[in-house]
């Protein structure tokens, strides 16, 4: 904490006020911090927030529930700190043709309630997750498996007023491509070959579920029973809006064995107070810093911070329905906008190095990432070129400047600072009016994006589900994809993606995916901005903390002092 004279003055006022009110503030303990080094039985506290769904792996698709689920369950594979998948419950995963997969499941594994885990457990769990009437958010992760279309089928009814309602209507209860040959052999037949399919087996959607979960998912999700490195401290360990307490699962044997006695997730609705709590050693570790601490966390937490590149990137989407960005002129303008963003400077000044300028549509930490793709020169800041391209576009079709160019964003996630900076860049380098279009609620932006009625640009962020190039391209830019709200569509891009998926080896696949990115650079439906590094800080009560490939803290690796 840099303490300047003014803030000291403010502090003095504060002291005076408290002295006047004459209160001796009580309870300054910090949970009796112990001095002994490396206590494997001590429980650590970590930043989190209220999970939005019952804690079922196939239903949890947001970070705060996700981090709990990942500690409670163990899948066929897990990802090491660098994002490399390692076999966990799987003994081996093999496929001769990238379409028919044989997975050998380790024997003798149990859930903490004593239920055995066999190949059939996986068949049941996956069929449950994919079945549309179970309404699991992550059901679509099984879409590659043969028979998925039947179990996930829905019907859409149109009411008299034109409103459409989709209701689940599975035509089968099990996926035909999924069979348990015996207790230890799981065979999976995909609808078509997919070289990188096994990469995703460490994602939480693929975790095994005990039979209680399938019988009553909602009740189970309140007090989940898993097979991971941790378990619920007790029934009701999830105190809503306050905390979740996990303790070490002594029976766990796998790559992620816990080095502490447990993890208590304390819920915060804002990262600011958590940061202050950490400064007061009232919290042990956080992976979300308030944006105004990006310049100070290294000094506030000397030797107690780490910043590592993660598989998360940000883009600025340019809707194709905006008349200013259509046709040949629109293409030139998109390039001009990209050249007018000084990514280097914003990464340094606004983010203090916790972002690195984007080099492609996927971050460098992903296997297969390639720098210098054709067309990626638009990511370099070049004010002269930007101005020139903008002028060229104006000759083809004049820019409608009746309204300022707006960049839509919710204001509660620390986005305002960089958007202001980008808008100022547009103003200074292109001579146009530009400003943030602030929304109090993320839902409003999403709604406008979905209904294609956003007047200007919008920001988007993507965090990888599993470490694969495809995961950064398919769900975001493919025709009709789930997160392709601006409805970008290019058949050539779709074709390259499909070819990549069907490739026999990951190298071949990645080559295709990189070709697909060159199509994106040609079209620029969005401007890659930067890739994230995840800064984390920890208290004096723990030895060290580190993040995994996706920026999540490896809680099991933290040792309390």
């Amino acid at each position: 904490m840099r303490f300047t004279r003014t803030s000291k003055a403010l502090g003095m006022v504060a002291i005076a006020a408290l002295a006047l009110t004459g209160c001796g503030a009580g309870g300054g303990s910090n949970d009796g911090a112990s001095q002994s080094a490396g206590d494997p039985n001590k429980v650590i506290t970590a930043y989190s927030n209220e999970p939005q769904n019952p804690l079922l792996p196939a239903n949890t698709n947001e970070v705060y529930g996700g981090r709990v689920v990942e500690l409670l369950f163990e899948g066929l594979r897990s990802y090491d700190a660098n994002g490399k998948p390692v076999n966990s419950l799987a003994e081996s995963i093999e496929s001769p043709d990238a379409q028919n997969w044989t997975i050998k499941v380790k024997q003798g594994q149990k859930f903490t309630n004593g239920e055995a885990i066999t190949a059939k457990t996986f068949v049941d769990s996956w069929n449950f997750a994919a079945n549309s009437k179970n309404l699991q958010n992550n059901g679509f992760f099984f879409e590659s498996i043969e028979g998925y279309a039947d179990v996930s089928a829905v019907t859409t009814a149109t009411a008299a007023d034109g409103k459409k309602t989709t209701t689940p209507a599975p035509t089968a209860e099990t996926m035909s491509g999924l069979t348990a040959k015996d207790d230890s052999t799981l065979t999976v037949k995909l609808a078509q070959p997919e070289a990188d399919w096994s990469l995703r087996l460490g994602y939480s959607a693929f975790f095994p579920l005990p039979s209680a979960a399938l019988a009553d998912p909602k009740t189970f999700g309140e007090n989940p029973v898993g097979n991971g490195p941790y378990k619920f401290e007790k029934t009701g360990a999830w105190v809503h809006d306050q905390s979740i307490s996990l303790v070490k699962n002594a029976d766990y044997s796998g790559p992620r064995e816990s080095k502490n006695g447990g993890v208590t997730f304390k819920f915060y609705t804002d990262p600011g107070p958590a940061y202050t709590d950490l400064q007061g050693n009232n919290l042990d570790v956080t992976d979300v810093l308030p944006s105004n601490a990006l310049k100070t966390y290294v000094t506030d937490f000397q030797d107690r911070n780490s910043t590592k590149a993660v598989a998360t990137n940000s883009t600025l989407n340019i809707p194709g329905y905006n008349p200013n960005f259509q046709g040949e002129a629109g293409k030139l303008r998109r390039q001009a906008l990209s050249y007018a963003i000084n990514r280097e400077e914003i990464a340094k000044v606004v983010f203090n190095g916790t972002r690195t300028p984007a080099k492609a549509f996927a971050p460098p930490v992903i296997d297969g990432f390639k720098e210098g793709l054709k067309g990626s020169e638009v990511l370099k800041f070049d004010a002269a070129k930007a101005k020139d391209l903008w002028a060229q576009a104006d000759k083809i079709q004049p820019y409608d400047k009746s309204k300022p160019l707006q960049i839509a964003s919710n204001t509660d996630g620390g986005n305002k600072e960089w958007i202001d900076a980008v808008a100022n860049g547009f103003k200074n380098n292109l001579g146009i009016q530009a400003e943030i279009q602030p929304f109090a609620k993320f839902a409003e932006v999403l709604n406008l994006r979905k209904s294609q009625s956003l007047p200007g640009l919008s920001r988007a962020g993507w965090q990888g589900d599993y470490p694969s190039l495809y995961n950064f391209l398919g769900p975001v830019w493919a025709t009709g994809a789930s997160s392709n709200y601006e409805k970008y569509s290019n058949p050539q891009f779709d074709k390259l993606l499909q070819e990549g998926l069907a490739a026999k080896t990951t190298d071949e696949a990645n080559a295709k995916f990189n070709q697909a990115q060159e199509v994106l650079f040609e079209d620029l439906p969005g401007l890659p901005l930067w890739d994230q590094a995840r800064p984390i800080v920890w208290s004096e009560n723990v030895v060290k903390a580190e993040t995994g490939w996706n920026g999540g803290i490896l809680y099991y690796n933290i040792t309390a002092k």
Binding site: P51, T165, P273, T276, D277, Q279, D412
Partner: protein, 309 residues
């Protein structure tokens, strides 16, 4: 008197209907699909969204939704919020915390506001008066989010006198710091209202009479000047109790207090009609009772005020 009180309590009914109707309609009018918003960047299958929408009756017209809410209320079942948690349970968690915070803040601002206001009013233009003027300017001009932050840093981190945040298991001690911050802005109001009344009343006839009778100065100040100066202060405090019970969004956010304000803010951001209206329903009761108490206090403070006319 009893009739007056009963009449006032009966007035809860129209206020309740008016408020819940208005609030429910406002939530209904908020743009954006609240169910889709639950999922952020990663949208679930449409069937999930549609099923949830019908589960929460969001596909129904406004009057049906409001009717269902009333029906639920009268069967003492507030239903579930969008994450599937019972609303009654969350109300039972947040209201005690905020009530503690409100009482503490109210006590701080009432005690110090009135005491300082009396001293400032008796010696207008003196050094004490000028000092408290500056203090009240500071607390008005510095937004709560800054004040709270500075307090947290100084007392919670640097001096270590209190825990920087409240979090789970809130108690009187851990709520003291946010209560001070919360009380400070209103403290300025109470102080200046008291000061104005006191300086207005100190030259009144009855004060001269009391002094002439030979009463001691403290007795004159407390029994005569202060008692007659309290009406605006009591009005303000009564209104403020309502405001405090509604939760202080900024202060509760800074100190991570799991109270009404935090819950309400999250609910508004998620357009969670049932949660918002349930909270507001409780608040309406609090307001009406607080107002009633204030009116009864008027009559006690100033016997000339009569309600049974």
């Amino acid at each position: 008197m009893v009739r007056f009180i009963l009449k006032r309590l009966l007035q809860v009914i129209p206020v309740f209907i008016g408020t819940t109707l208005l609030v429910y309609y406002m939530v209904f009018a908020l743009p954006g699909d609240p169910i889709a918003a639950l999922f952020g960047d990663r949208q679930p299958p449409q069937a999930v969204i549609d099923t949830l929408r019908s589960q929460y009756h969001l596909d129904q017209p406004f009057w049906v939704q409001y009717g269902l809410f009333l029906q639920n209320l009268f069967t003492f079942n507030l239903g579930n919020d969008f994450t599937g948690q019972p609303i009654a349970g969350s109300l039972a968690r947040v209201f005690p915390v905020t009530a503690m915070l409100a009482v503490e803040a109210l006590a701080i601002q009432a005690i110090f506001g009135v005491a300082f206001g009396v001293f400032a009013g008796l010696r207008r233009g003196g050094w004490f008066d000028s000092t408290v003027l500056v203090v009240s300017l500071v607390v008005i001009a510095v937004p709560t989010f800054v004040l709270g932050f500075v307090f947290q840093l100084v007392f919670g981190v640097q001096l270590g006198w209190a825990k920087p945040t409240v979090g789970a298991n809130a108690d009187w001690g851990s709520l003291l710091l946010p209560a001070v911050v919360l009380g400070l802005v209103s403290f300025a109001y109470v102080l200046r209202l008291t000061r104005a009344s006191v300086s207005e009343n100190m030259n009144a006839d009855y004060v001269r009479t009391a002094t002439a009778k030979g009463l001691s100065r403290p007795r004159v100040v407390i029994a005569h000047i202060l008692r007659n100066s309290l009406i605006p202060v009591v009005t303000y405090l009564g209104a403020n109790l309502g405001g405090l019970m509604g939760g202080a969004i900024v202060t509760e956010g800074i100190f991570n207090v799991p109270g009404v304000g935090n819950k309400l803010y999250q609910a508004v951001l998620r357009s969670e009609g049932p949660t918002i209206v349930s909270i507001v329903s409780v608040l309406v009761l609090v307001f009406v009772v607080a107002n009633l108490l204030v009116d009864l206090l008027y009559a006690w403070l100033d016997p000339r005020i009569r309600y049974d006319q």
